[in-house]
Amino acid sequence: MTLGFITWLLVFQLLGEVISKGLDLPLPGPVVGMALLFLGLVVRGELPDGLKDTAGGLLKHLSLLFVPAGVGVMMHLHLLKDEWQAISAALVVSTVFTIAVSALVMVGLSRLFGNDAKGGDVSDG
């Protein structure tokens, strides 16, 4: 992880916050920052090694980073307790539906446009 690339991530986050607040977008600032960085990389056409390493280092423990916020659920345990049936049903149904719809749409579109599974589009980077 280099300091320079950490700084870049913070600069993009800051830009994202400024744009999000400035234009009164309902988008979180860091997400706008992520979109900007993605567009920047597409325009630039290559990924600097240092950025790759820095991002990799941060994302390696991404799940640690939302533990503190997750613990905050202790202040909303009443919602989980009172509404657990609605919540569990919604989670199960919605997860199965989402998997089914996205997979079926992907398979359907691939067939429609003759871009079939065979051939492994993944390797033609």
Binding site: L9, L37, V42, L62, P68, V73, L91, T98, V122
Partner: protein, 239 residues
Amino acid sequence: MDDGLYQIWVYLSTTPLLGLTVTLVAYQTGMWIYTRAGLHPLLNPVLIAVVLLVGLLMVTGTDYRTYFDGAQFVHFMLGPATVALAVPLYQQFQKVRRSFALILVAVLSGSTTAALSAIGVAWALGASRETLLSLAPKSVTAPIAMGIAEATGGVPSLTAVLVILTGILGAVLGTWTLNALRIKDWRARGLAMGTASHGIGTARALQVNEIAGAFASLAMGLNGLATAILLPLILGLIF
């Protein structure tokens, strides 16, 4: 002796050091159990860490604010980490440029299905508005989902827990659902896992097949962006 220990506790409980340390210890305990259990999705390390920490705070009578004073140093890194998600998104994007339009349409349909079906089912079963708004972004990776919940009036910490539960459900039910539908295309299988259950689904897809893993990772990033943009519009129509 007891009095001495109590004095130390009084001192430590007011410094950020304790909150930070217990967060790292709880997470590593979660990781240790998860690794020991052969990466079984039901023993999700974050869920274990959250359960341990909530238990600890309740037993010691510590309020969440006091804990968060220390844990905020970890929490702060969520912002830069969210920005950093652009890097894997770009790497996967480069690999699949040719079929990017198809992927985008599939992810958008998944994104809409996730939000609408969750809101619909929970609403039909009488869930409160707070719960509905917290449920809506649950298929998105946690850092983005919490940001969305905050921007749309949900409860970010409830969203974080619902996101993890969704990830676990996707990892457990995904293979079964995809087999029942006879979907053999690894691209579609991975894409579905990443769209419906973010990082946890992606980890599961990677365990099974490399192509599925790549598509899951791409779908996870795209779904984060798509939901952040679409959900405020969808919620504006419903509420």
